[in-house]
Every structure is written in C-alpha cells, then in structure tokens.
C-alpha cells in the first residue's frame, strides 16, 4: 500500500497491518520531525509538498524494486504532506518478510530511495524564517 496523505498517519494500524502468518519479521521505519536549533532560533515545524501524481508513482516503483530484490510479502509506504509538528511522523515504512534480514534491508532501502527519487520537498519553518531542505534557500538569513 503506497499512499500520500494530508493528515496524521495511523502508525499503529500500518505496522500491525503488516503482520502475516507466513512472515516472521516486520521492520518499520518512521521519519519524525526533529527540532533543530542554532544561534537562538529553532525549528517550529516542517512543511511538505509533492509533485503528484508523479510522487505516488515513484513510491509504487520503490515497492516494486523491493519485491524484485528481496523476499518480502508486504510493503507499505505512507508519506504525509503539509504541516508536520515536532515529533510527528512524516513518513512510515513497514515491510514484512519470512526472515528478518530482508525485512531490515528492504525498509532501509525504502527510505534511502524515497530521499533520492520521490518528488517531495520539505521546508524547515524556523522562528526566524524558513529554509528549503536540500536547496538551502529560503527567507532565513544564512548563519
């Protein structure tokens, strides 16, 4: 299941939805908003945008790559858009496999590929302006 959503992600349902009697291992990864701070300012929240439906299709492609490379029985990836508060999940990956090695490897692969190929962008909104992560431009004056 590959989905881009605008509201909070039900992490528990995504993880338990990966349990299967033919699998012994479920590895999951959750990306959460981390509050950075420097010289008196700090990150207040993150804001995500996507180029859709290309981003949806790229998530599905990552799922297909994983199923080609590893023995997995279930892959879910959900990415959130819009404003995400500190400590909240922006992306959740859940992979089930008969054995734990493939589950760990595939979940790691999923997040690395998301960061390489899926057209989604985040800006850090600080108390004194914002910064587009990756482009390093925005309204915040350089440190």
């Amino acid at each position: 299941m590959f989905r881009i959503v605008e509201g909070p992600i039900d992490v528990g349902a995504l993880v338990t939805g990966a349990f299967r009697p033919d699998c012994g291992a479920v590895a999951t990864f959750v990306g959460t908003t981390r509050v950075d701070s420097s010289s008196g300012a700090s990150v207040e929240y993150l804001e995500y945008e996507a180029y859709r439906p290309m981003a949806d299709r790229k998530l599905e492609e990552i799922g297909a790559e994983i199923e080609e490379r590893w023995e997995v029985k279930h892959v879910s990836i959900v990415h959130r858009l819009g404003r995400v508060e500190a400590g909240e999940p922006s992306v959740v990956i859940a992979v089930a496999s008969p054995r734990r090695g493939p589950a760990f490897e595939a979940s790691r692969y999923a997040i690395e590929r998301i960061k390489e190929t899926v057209p989604i962008w985040k800006r850090e909104v600080w108390s004194d302006g914002y910064v587009w992560v990756g482009s390093q431009t925005g309204t915040r004056s350089p440190a």
Binding site: G31, Y48, E49, A50, Y51, P53, M54, A55, R57, H79, S90, V91, I111, I114, K115, E116, T117, V118, P119, I120, W121, K122, R123, W132, V133, G134, S135, T137, G138
Partner: protein, 82 residues
Amino acid sequence: MDGVKVLLFGAAADQAGTRQTELPVDNEATIGDLWSALADQHPGLTPMRDILAFAVNGEYARAEDKVSPGDEVAVLPPVSGG
C-alpha cells in the same frame, strides 16, 4: 495548445515567484531550450540551474530530451522527502 505547462516546486517556485507558467515550444525543442526561455522569464531561477532536475509528463527527463506542445514539464529542486 501550442505551448507546455511548466510546474515549479519548492525553492524553484520561490525563486520564480510562481508555481505554474506556460511557455511556447516548437517541435524540435528540448528541455534545455525550455529552460533558457524559463530563466529569461524568471531570472531568479538562474542560480539554481545546477541543482535542478526536470520531469516531462511525470517522468524524469534530461536537458537533451524533447518536449512537445501539450506536455507537462516540472522543475524539480533536490528532493527532500522523508
């Protein structure tokens, strides 16, 4: 339509001052040609050239790839999902 729709995202939308524009293309035009016209129209984009990627109709494309009237071209800063 004898032009292409151009969508801009993230820092590129900021630098261009718009999220969408239209540009005319002729039949032999490439992404590179389109970029030149786009940068003329929105000079704030010029310094981003080296970090930008492009998509045509939802798939990554290179500077030498062709674009045709009716295509949707997206201007993509380095992705930063996750």
